[in-house]
């Protein structure tokens, strides 16, 4: 089981948290649960209500839509962010491709943290802008 500070050290390398002060990351770390998935496990399904964001610590996950693989998520990468923010159903199905260890951050708790720590919000906004820019440039 990871301690809070160990989670902070892991979260520090995640792009959406790059702007965050370490003490504020500790607040995220407190609400982040460590979860494990064996290969082939479905983490969530397309169309399900979105309730959490995931950060992969070890292993990889495949994001699939209509059976087609759209992206592979690796260590220190996040998935589930878009649906989490707009509260819409999941856009894709996430499947663990190997023994996968991740941090699960539930939306309600994350919103509480975001409401008082703008530096984290700023990091998320920057990350979203990067993603939008990336998709526009393709």
């Amino acid at each position: 089981m990871l301690t809070t500070i160990e989670k902070v050290l892991l979260l520090q390398g995640v792009d959406i948290f790059l702007e965050a002060e370490t003490e504020h990351l500790a607040k995220v770390a407190v609400i982040a649960q460590e979860v494990r998935f064996s290969p082939g496990t479905i983490i969530f399904r397309e169309g399900e209500p979105s309730d959490a964001l995931y950060v992969i610590l070890e292993g990889t996950a495949s994001l699939r839509k209509d059976g087609l693989e759209k992206a592979i998520v690796k260590e220190r990468e996040t998935f589930g962010l878009w649906a989490l923010l707009d509260e819409s159903p999941r856009l894709v199905t996430a499947v663990a491709m190997a023994e996968t260890r991740a941090l699960k951050i539930e939306r309600e708790y994350l919103y509480d943290v975001l409401s008082s720590h703008f530096d984290i919000v700023r990091g998320i906004l920057k990350c979203l802008v990067r993603m939008i820019r990336g998709s526009l440039e393709k």
């Binding site: 301690t3 809070t4 500070i5 902070v8 050290l9 520090q12 002060e21 370490t22 003490e23 500790a26 407190v30 919103y111 509480d112 409401s115 008082s116």
Partner: protein, 932 residues
């Protein structure tokens, strides 16, 4: 040793530039002193003292001509190019003088030659000195200048000493005229040094005229050689010019007194030259000592006024001595004090006065003041002397009385300089802006109606709101069509005001709009619309009852407000019944109903206890939007029984702002309640972090007293919010007083903490970098940034907020010049106790200095590291404690067992968890064995 270090504080990266500038000033002044001794000796020997007043006047005229020619032909060139060309040209002219005066080219001893030499040496010598200081101003930043100009000025004074000694020893050997060759060699060497400095620093700043004249689209105003470009700095420049002018006039009088006495004492030419050389050497030594031992110290500790007062006060004493007892010794003392203070401490003070000016102003103004003003003043001095000696036949001692009169003007001007310097620094940090709205008075006048109607339709949102505000003062009848237009298509805030004005106007042209607005999202619009329709149709009760029966919560809530505010009896009772039903609608589907009920409650001016009870219950609602609406209604009604629940709402995420605003509406009477909540040990620390905002929003002296009482709050974040609340209070009401002694005491504590953090940054871990050590240092950096903000917020309670705000962004800027300017401003602003501790912290940001290097050396031992980590673990900062515990475990540092055990007993879960993990790591047998 400490004094010596303060006087010579050269830092990494500055040695090369300082060394070359020192050498340049050294040679420049050495050459100038040789030239000056030759000039004085030949003039006094050949033409006598009686000609001196005339030559002083001619020097003024000649200098003006030189300055004009210089500006005309050289202004397009960078300062460095101007300077090294001038040095080479000067060396050539001196060579010609030497050949002519030695009789090698021309025979005879025409008096004009000695006038020419006097004029040349005076004009050229001072021009090169002024240009060299201007060049130095570009080579160094304002902050560097303050530290290093003392050292560079010492180079100039040492040069004066060498020049004097050379003159004395070579006068008999090569003859007075032959010394001009020595001076020429000095100027040639200076030229080379300027080229080297220019290459090293890449400072080739064009003066503004050069830039303007090389740019096709430059502002034509910029091309005019007008003083208008100095607008805004006039009074500051006038002070500089005044100080220099008075200094020059008095110096001319003193120079005359000195030369008159010396000419009498030394009848032979070479003996006179040798004496002048010795005197100038002695003058150099005294100046050097003054410069080295007192200038830096006086500048840094006593301030600019003291620096600029030292010369006139000394001259006042000397003049008094000459007036009372004329003779060689008192006159020599007067000249010695004038010469030694003028080119050391006084010069450094005058150079500092230029520092706050923008480069464009500084470049032009300095060239003008240093050359033209100084020489003109010299001319005026010559005129005064001419009158005094030729007309009034004043003696040397009587001239001292004239000098004392001038000193009576000089001394108050010098005292005023610090104030002007501060103002110029402040203006340099600020930016200006102005926005205003014209205020027509007769709103019914046809032209005004047309103008405002047009503006209502075409202006942006703020513009429209401004017109609507004006219309509140008048009948809106002529504006009804425009208001209907605005209400139909503008944003919610504008629409609400327009609807209110239309409702109050009761013009039937608006009826259709009002009927449509009964289901508007904005409750205020709905209420105005319902009232309008009721009044227009003349049957309010049935209409309201119909709306109360609606299934649409928006319409129901609007009707509830109308029923409770405007009616009695059955309609009111029905309204209360519907309100209760709305507030009790359960589940997610009932959120809109409950929110509408919460908003509607805020509109009831005299709510009953039942209605207050409903409102309090809504503050505990599961949905944040309902709670926020209820808190806004509490802010409007301020029922006393809602205070405890509002305090609790401060802690809820997403409702803290509304809760603080609501508490603020109760005014100072609620402060004792907040005080009790603050001290309640059963409440979480988070409440202490959120209460200051509420108290600050209340405002007034009661809020100040409460916030000041809590200034030593142990929780770092709560303390930050307390001080932030005080800043906001002060920004709103500048008349509020914050006890400066208490603030300064806290400030010193925070500065000490910043020093402690600064030291912590330099500790070396046995294994570095590791994730733990990196995190620990990152947290220290974050704490330093937070603490710096806190320090500046405290300063914002002592000094003008805008100044401190600008200075904070200055000291945290990446631009070295901006940072230096800000530190320089603070250096002049802060009281000695704060300045002494804070400035070294800011001064060394981003550069390695001796104190930091010492800190790094001190903190290299493991014992010191363990002591530091143990003190952090035992400290109040829980996150830093957690990180320290982690790094102790990660690096297996032998911290005393009790430190970890105590941390394991901490109430904070994160600290406890880290302590337990560290304990396991330190006591794990296998690893421990491996470690051993």
């Amino acid at each position: 040793m400490h004094l010596f270090r303060r006087a010579i504080d050269i830092r990494t990266g500055e040695y090369g530039r300082t060394g070359l500038m020192f050498a340049c000033m050294f040679l420049l002044i050495a050459a100038y002193v040789v030239m000056k001794a030759v000039r004085d000796s030949l003039f006094l020997y050949k033409l006598g003292v009686a000609q001196l007043p005339l030559v002083y006047i001619l020097v003024a005229v000649f200098s003006g001509a030189v300055a004009w020619l210089y500006a005309h032909f050289f202004r397009r060139l960078p300062v460095s190019t101007q300077l090294h060309t001038t040095f080479l040209g000067g060396a050539a002219v001196l060579l010609v003088f030497q050949l002519v005066l030695s009789g090698l080219v021309l025979s005879g001893e025409a008096p004009w030659l000695y006038y020419a030499l006097y004029l040349w040496v005076s004009g050229y010598g001072l021009l090169t000195v002024a240009q060299s200081w201007l060049f130095a101003n570009q080579v160094f930043t304002a902050r560097e200048a303050k530290r290093l100009f003392g050292v560079i000025g010492a180079g100039a004074i040492l040069g004066g000493t060498l020049g004097g000694l050379l003159t004395t020893s070579l006068a008999a050997l090569v003859g007075t005229e032959g010394l001009l060759l020595v001076a020429a060699c000095g100027y040639a060497a200076c030229s080379g040094l300027v080229v080297l400095l220019d290459r090293m620093t890449r400072v080739s700043v064009l003066v503004p005229d050069a830039v303007a004249s090389n740019t096709d689209d430059a502002d034509p105003q910029e091309r005019k050689p007008s003083l208008s470009r100095f607008a805004g700095y006039g009074s500051h420049l006038a002070i500089i010019a005044g100080l220099i002018a008075l200094g020059e006039v008095v110096a001319t009088l003193v120079d005359y007194q000195f030369k008159a006495i010396v000419r009498e004492a030394y009848p032979s030419k070479d003996a006179l030259t040798a004496f002048l050389g010795t005197f100038y050497a002695g003058l150099g030594v005294v100046s050097f000592l003054v410069q080295l031992l007192t200038t830096g110290f006086v500048v840094q500790t006593l301030g600019l006024s003291a620096v600029l007062l030292s010369l006139p006060v000394t001259l006042l004493a000397g003049s008094l001595a000459v007036a009372l007892s004329p003779g060689f010794t008192p006159v020599a003392f007067l000249k010695l004090s004038e010469g030694s203070f003028r080119y050391s401490i006084n010069k450094a003070g005058l150079e500092l006065l230029y520092v706050p000016l923008p480069l464009s102003v500084k470049t032009k103004a300095k060239a003008f003041i240093d050359s033209v003003t100084e020489r003109t003043a010299g001319g005026i001095g010559g005129l005064i002397l001419l009158l005094a000696t030729a007309v009034f036949s004043l003696t040397v001692s009587q001239l001292s009385v004239v000098a004392m009169v001038l000193l009576a003007l000089w001394i108050p001007l010098a005292a005023l300089s610090q104030q002007r310097y501060m103002r110029a620094l402040r203006e340099g940090l600020q930016s200006k802006g102005l926005d205003s709205w014209p205020s027509p008075l007769n709103l019914s006048e046809a032209g005004t109606v047309a103008l405002l109607t047009n503006r209502l339709r075409e202006a942006d949102e703020p513009g429209t709101l401004a017109v609507l505000k004006l219309l509140e003062q008048t009948t809106v009848t002529p504006y009804v069509p425009a208001l209907i237009d605005v209400a139909g298509r503008r944003g919610p805030a504008t629409r609400a005001v327009a609807m209110r004005l239309l409702a109050e106007g009761r013009d039937l042209r608006a009826l259709s709009l009002m009927e449509d607005a009964i289901g508007d999202p904005d409750l205020s619009v709905r209420v105005h619309a319902m009232r309008f329709v009721c009044a227009a149709k003349g049957c309010p009760e049935p209409l309201i009852e119909g709306w109360l029966a609606s299934h649409e919560p928006r319409i129901t809530a609007g009707a509830v407000v109308c029923a409770l505010k405007d009616h009695h009896g059955a309609v009111r009772a029905k309204g209360q019944e519907v309100l209760t039903a709305l507030a009790r609608m359960e589940g997610t589907g009932g959120v809109t109903h409950r929110r509408e009920a919460a908003v509607a409650l805020g509109w009831i001016e005299t709510p009953s206890s039942v209605e207050i009870g409903i409102l309090i219950a809504l503050v505990s609602d599961a949905d944040t939007s309902v709670v926020r609406a209820a808190l806004r209604s509490i802010a409007h009604l301020t029922p006393w029984s809602a205070v405890p629940i509002t305090i609790s709402a401060l802690l809820r995420n997403g409702t803290g702002g509304e809760a603080a605003d609501a508490l603020a509406q109760y005014g100072p009477t609620v402060i004792p309640e907040l005080d009790r909540a603050y001290d309640d040990p059963g409440r979480p620390v988070e409440l202490r972090r959120r209460l200051p905002k509420a108290v600050g929003a209340i405002g007034g002296p009661e809020a100040v007293t409460w916030l000041m009482k809590r200034l030593d709050e142990p929780d770092r974040i709560a303390r930050y919010h307390l001080i932030k609340a005080m800043n906001k209070l002060r920004a709103r009401d500048a008349s509020l007083l914050f006890d400066p002694q208490l603030v300064e005491r806290r400030l010193l504590i925070e500065i000490r903490e910043q020093h402690r953090l600064q030291m912590m940054r330099h500790y070396s871990f046995p294994s570095d970098p590791t994730p733990g050590s990196r995190l620990f240092k990152q947290v220290v950096e974050e704490r330093m940034a937070d603490n710096l903000k806190l320090i500046f917020r405290l300063l914002g309670l002592l000094f003008p907020i805008k100044d401190i705000h600008d200075t904070y962004y200055g000291v945290t800027s990446d631009d070295l010049r901006v940072r230096d300017h800000a530190v320089e401003f603070l250096d002049s602003l802060l009281p000695e106790t704060v300045r002494r501790t804070l400035i070294p912290l800011l001064d060394r940001r981003g550069s390695t200095t001796r104190p930091e290097a010492t800190a790094a050396e001190l903190s290299s031992g493991q014992g010191a590291l363990i002591d530091m980590l143990a003190s952090v673990v035992e400290g109040p900062d829980l996150w830093l404690t957690t990180c320290a515990l982690y790094v102790i475990g990660e690096q297996k540092l032998p911290v005393p067992e009790t430190v970890i055990r105590d941390a394991m007993a901490q109430p904070d879960r994160m600290v406890r968890e880290a302590a337990e993990a560290t304990w396991r790591r330190l006591t794990e047998p296998a690893k421990l064995k491996a470690c051993l």
